[in-house]
């Protein structure tokens, strides 16, 4: 019996151990070219606007005593594709002094689209509705109305979001509004 047991144990030790699990690999390949921006920013005719490299970010300076700045930036479509655009405020400082501040889009003919509203120092709308940007050549204008109760500096940091219609693919440009 002892001999049989020893033999069985020896055979087990001699057998190779096979350890496997069902395993497969799918393959994903991503090609990521750097492409020219489809939409660019251009300076406006009111206030002071600084456009940064590649025309994809900007800083706008306006002063509160003037109630309306029309327009502070121009959004220009460079592609034969339609887009939708909107503004979304993502950070701010010292906006409590703003009694009224509205940042809105307009085109040349058919009205405006209110994007960001500040009333009595607080947001009443922080993200605007989607607004059409037709294929090139097309432009939309960004304007501001404002009223402040003190002479300080307020900063509003905003994303200009550019969406492919019927998709959830979008680009974010950074805009900074400095309101004195």
């Amino acid at each position: 019996m002892l001999v049989v047991g020893t033999l069985f144990l020896s055979l087990n030790l001699l057998l190779p151990t096979i350890s496997a699990s069902i395993y497969a690999s799918l393959s994903g390949q991503s090609s990521v070219p750097v492409a020219p921006p489809p939409v660019i920013l251009q300076p406006g005719t009111a206030g002071t606007s600084t456009i940064y490299t590649n025309n994809t970010s900007a800083e706008v300076s306006v002063a509160a005593p003037t109630p309306t700045y029309d327009y502070v930036l121009k959004v220009v479509n460079q592609m034969p594709d339609s887009w939708k655009i909107r503004l979304a405020a993502y950070s701010q400082s010292n906006i409590g002094r703003l009694d009224n501040c509205t940042i809105y889009f307009r085109n040349l003919s058919d009205g405006t689209s209110g994007q960001i509203y500040i009333v009595s120092g607080s947001y009443t709308q922080q993200t605007g509705p989607w607004y059409d940007l037709p294929p090139s050549p097309a432009e939309r204008y960004l304007a501001i109305t404002l009223q402040a109760n003190s002479s300080e500096v307020s900063i509003i940091n905003v994303y200009l979001e550019i969406l492919i219609p019927n998709k959830t693919t979008y680009a974010k440009y950074i805009l900074t509004f400095e309101i004195t």
């Binding site: 395993y23 799918l26 994903g28 390949q29 090609s31 990521v32 750097v34 492409a35 970010s57």
Partner: protein
Amino acid sequence: MNIKSIKITKSMKFLVLLLLSLIVGMANAAIFYSLTVQPAVAITGAKVVFVSGNDFPTGSSLGSNSTWVSLALKAYPNVTLTYEQPVNISNTDTANHNFRLRHVTITPANGQPQVGNYTSISFVVQNTAGVAQGSFNYTTTGLNWNTASTMSYMTLPASASWIIYVETKAVAGANDVTADIQIAVDVV
């Protein structure tokens, strides 16, 4: 004819002995046995596959068995570009499966000046509800890539489809260059 009447010469005897020795030699074999393995190799469709999402970019392609996908993404200088749902990973099985993303290759290679055009290329695995389950990020330091670390295995429930969300960003002033990334999706 009587066989005993046949005369057997010495040379014939020697020939018979030689033939017998050859036969004995050939019959001398090692101790030998055969085990039998009979694998049945059925070709079945993969249970976990890629499925194109709502943001499947123009120019992308999906392999015929949905086990391979090529995504034609873009990056814009100084812009964050988001693809919320370029491609999904779908479990067509009635059992759960575990999967992970694993880096394979990326070009241009480290040290090439083109690498510095990129800020980040991020892949985020989201469940059906859009909740992030893990991320897989490529960033750069100077002219070198910080390649994504292999993810921990995630459990993809039976009949569920999860999202691969992608975000790209190039540096201000980036010029015409393309990064190619190969990623393996290991399925257990």
